[in-house]
């Protein structure tokens, strides 16, 4: 179990990709990082918890003491903002 997890981590850390892919990924990560950083705090928190941390709507609502509809609305706004900012990376 421990070796499997560490192996996965090592594989992720030393991902064997080409330099071009490395550059492209680095650009995407930079752009994503910047786009998320430019979101309003309330939208940023919701989208990070949902798409990066994988929490459910209910968990986010409980953690932030928000209505389920509020979480759903904020998440939608945040994703719409990100879609516009990451437009060039989309296929």
């Amino acid at each position: 179990m421990a070796r499997h997890g560490e192996g996965t981590l090592t594989r992720l850390a030393s991902s064997e990709i080409s330099p071009a892919e490395e550059v492209e990924r680095s650009e995407l990560e930079t752009a994503l990082h910047r786009a998320i950083g430019e979101l309003s705090e309330e939208r940023r928190i919701v989208v990070v918890l949902r798409d990066l941390e994988g929490l459910s709507y209910e968990e986010i609502a409980t953690a932030l003491e928000l209505e389920l509809g509020t979480v759903r609305s904020r998440l939608h706004r945040a994703r719409m903002d990100l879609r516009e900012k990451l437009e060039r990376f989309l296929p």
Partner: protein, 373 residues
């Protein structure tokens, strides 16, 4: 549903958070609106891009979570397990192996000297106290009974020499003593009622060597009836005194009649084999008396007092006394000069039946007297 309302639900659609009616309305709009379908696809791509990049670009939280998930247990538990888990398995096995080897070595080391020691001690152990003191079940122990005629055989090496040198002078007397024994038998036959003897008693009589004539067998039975020499004999054996004269004569008479008297050594060997493995050390302190005899008296108390006076007068010493159910057994030490007077004094006290006198008397004679009556 407008396109704006439809696009507001894209996020919930991707996450599967729409209820049935919302989902049905959205599907109906998407079926008719190509722009919204394209916009939904780009929305999906954006979320997928973000989720795909997320693990890589969020190392801090991700690494912590992965490491946490990769760790099977917190470090104290792993430390404890690492330190102690092998021991419950290994330590007992190693300890058991060491103990087994140690015990085995110790047993072998200690066992062999003990065996040698016990093997050496066994033949050296003195004999004596095997004879029972009360009523003797003769059928159970025929061998000691057979040995009564030769009590000296109880005493190992000394007995062998003494028995041999005493047997020599006795040989010519056998013919003389045998008739005396026969006379005693006749006397008992006259005084005792033969019918009183049970078959059981007869069955108990051991037949040491060869089959005897019926008369002799009955005579032997009769002999033990009145004075019960067989019952007294074991006690004498315990005292290591020679048997009474009557028993000695009976033994000789049997030997004469059967003609198959066993060699002394052979019987001695048989007796040795019967020795208990550990004889009390007390037996070693006993010395074979030079004389023994049976004193039948009418008044035991009077006889004891008279004997005491006699002993004091002759300068003899009472060295030992055993009180048995049949009467006291007294061991005396008397100077050789006073022996004859003691003998006659005993004869005056009652019916004194001494054993045969040794050919050579020591300076100090040890006599064992059994008082009956």
């Amino acid at each position: 549903m407008s396109c704006h309302d439809a696009r507001e639900q894209f996020s919930a659609l991707i996450d599967g958070a729409l209820d049935a009616s919302e989902r049905a309305g959205l599907d109906a709009h998407l079926a008719t609106c190509a722009d919204c379908r394209r916009e939904l696809q780009r929305f999906r791509d954006t979320v997928a891009l973000m989720r795909a990049a997320a693990p890589v670009r969020a190392p801090a939280g991700f690494v912590d979570r992965v490491l946490e998930a990769a760790r099977p247990a917190p470090w104290p538990r792993r430390l404890v397990r690492g330190l102690f888990l092998p021991w419950p398995v290994k330590l007992p096995m190693e300890a058991a192996a060491i103990v087994l080897v140690a015990v085995g070595v110790a047993l072998v080391y200690r066992g062999s000297p003990d065996l040698q020691q016990s093997a050496q001690q066994e033949p050296a152990a003195p004999v004596v106290t095997q004879a029972p003191s009360g009523a003797t079940p003769e059928a159970k122990q025929p061998a000691p009974l057979r040995e009564k005629g030769e009590p000296q055989e109880l005493y190992g090496a000394r007995k062998d020499e003494k028995a041999r040198e005493q047997d020599k002078p006795r040989e010519p007397e056998k013919a003389k003593e045998a008739p005396r024994a026969q006379d005693r038998v006749q006397e008992f036959v006259r005084t005792q009622e033969p019918g009183s003897l049970t078959d059981k008693k007869r069955a108990e009589t051991p037949s040491p060597s060869a089959p005897q004539p019926a008369a002799t067998s009955r005579a032997a039975d009769l002999q033990k009836a009145p004075e019960s020499p067989e019952r007294q004999a074991p006690v004498i054996g315990k005292l290591e005194a020679p048997a009474s004269g009557a028993e000695r004569r009976r033994s000789i008479a049997k030997d004469n009649q059967s003609g198959t008297a066993q060699p002394t050594e052979q019987r001695a060997d048989a007796l040795k084999a019967q020795r208990p493995a550990s004889a009390p050390p007390l037996a070693a302190s006993f010395v074979l008396p030079d004389m023994s005899g049976q004193l039948a008296v009418s008044d035991r108390e009077l006889a004891l007092r008279s004997l005491k006076e006699l002993v004091a007068r002759l300068g003899a010493v009472e060295t030992r006394r055993f009180d048995t159910s049949d009467g006291p057994i007294i061991e005396l030490t008397v100077p050789r000069e006073a022996y004859a007077e003691l003998n006659s004094g005993l004869a005056r006290l009652g019916r004194w039946q001494p054993s045969k006198e040794p050919s050579t008397l020591p300076a100090t004679i040890r006599i064992v007297v059994r008082i009956t009556g």
